[in-house]
Symmetry: C3
Subunit: 208 residues, 3 copies
């Protein structure tokens, strides 16, 4: 049970809670919020495993992860009314989760012997696809495509982690540095509302 593993379990619990809350706001029933919470928490790793052909998929090899996500969604169903007081805690845990998912995803990519660029992408996909699938199921354009430095944080964390390993740094140190630097980046991006350029493109004429 490494530090990374503990962060992972805390993070999937928090992601499942935030997915469940979004489901409740859409009027979903108990099953809906359990599924949406689980997709939010485990969808990133699942997408990565399917794209890489890395079988068995994470939660199929470790069904106990589902206990965390489904349990978190059900608890959320009953206490959600009071959870906005915890908004800041969630944003912090979500930031931790983003970088932890990324480092774990990079690890899976390396285990599969993928090209370094694919290793980084495996990390980014693990970090962001849960939220992306959640938004598709909620019938909205995925937030990760529109605002804030979220995917960028995953990209930065992945590049840093793979770069440190390439420089010959040991895995524990490289993970720890990438986690801390990525988390710090995310916190700064939120605090100062850093954004990527978005081109004010709504009036651009399409090609179709």
């Amino acid at each position: 049970m490494t530090l990374l593993h503990i962060i992972y379990l805390v993070a999937i619990t928090a992601e499942a809670m935030s997915g469940a809350i979004m489901g409740m706001r859409r009027g979903m029933d108990l099953f809906g919020i359990c599924l949406l919470g689980t997709v939010t928490a485990l969808g990133g790793g699942t997408a990565r495993d399917i794209l890489l052909g890395h079988y068995p998929v994470g939660w199929i090899a470790n069904p106990e992860y589902l206990t965390f996500t489904i349990g978190a969604a059900i608890v959320t169903g009953f206490v959600a009314r009071h959870m906005h007081h915890l908004r800041k805690v969630f944003l912090i845990v979500d930031g931790l989760g983003l970088v932890a998912f990324t480092v774990i995803g990079c690890g899976v990519g390396m285990e599969m012997g993928a090209h370094p660029s694919i290793v980084v992408l495996a990390g980014v996909i693990t970090g962001i696809f849960g939220g992306l699938l959640r938004d598709v199921l909620c019938n909205q354009v995925p937030m990760v495509l529109q605002r804030e430095l979220y995917a960028t944080v995953a990209l930065f964390t992945g590049v840093l982690y793979v770069g440190l390993l390439w420089l010959g740094i040991g895995n524990s140190i490289a993970s720890l540095v990438a986690l801390c630097a990525g988390f710090l980046f995310r916190m700064l991006a939120m605090t100062f509302q850093w954004k990527l350029p978005d081109f004010q493109g709504k009036e651009i004429r399409g090609l179709d």
Copy 2:
């Protein structure tokens, strides 16, 4: 050709017809309704096979299934105007399909040597993901996340089937009991409009 297989073929035909009708209501063309009907009918098994790494995927191993779904969608294109008279027949066949898909999906999970909780989930995914993907393609929040005891029926059927096998009951008896009990549950749920709690959560404040 077992009873379960016959129910399966009848069910994919009916699911393809209901998918085709939803496509027509969205103004889709002939190709669109064929694809939407096929996704509705075969999407659940496809999602299950990809998640489990169970290759070849069902309809790729048995392309004749496509004849049923595409044929059903095309016929629907020409007779849909008169099909609402058959609404009750469809709801009954859809209920049969839900439980048959679930039992078949559990069977695939067991064949892959998965953990019992994953076997049940493989059944639930087979039962509900076709409709879920249909709704995503129609740009709406999946109905299965919002109303009625639909996923719950799949869960009940899967748990009952796996439980009976675990008790040492033979496969034919276990399938038959799970099919009948699950189907009865679905019919009762529709008749009495049983629902899961939905938390009236629309006014809940989000965490993002």
Copy 3:
């Protein structure tokens, strides 16, 4: 480096540009348009590879494809304002891409030893799923399900290609004939606005 391969690289560049423009029109940021462009360009081949269990997925085996799609999306971010002048060029390249994707997809299906109907479908999926996934991420009903002879062109190209091979024609000739005939069909379909029947079904009563 065959002619087909060159057409493929030009086509993924053009598809990534058209995806990026759609992303800009939705207010997506730089990351969003890179991801949307890449999904539009490579989503069809990815869906085909996952459905067929053909690993590694194309862009994971050849990460240099990502250079084309991400590069194209970034360039588009800066010049999109002027690109509608190139609308006709894009439609032509898109038509070329559609038939090239289809022929390449059929090739992968044959390599996997699939049934001829699945070989054709592998081509069609390669041709159309990129645009379909792009539209899902943009929160709209996929255009390919609604208008124009687009999927039909892929189907025609695939059937022609597989049919010519079945008749004993060599692969180079069969590819070339299928590419030219499919492209001509697409150009004619656009010029004369050929459509599949769409049943004016919006007033049809649903079954649910």
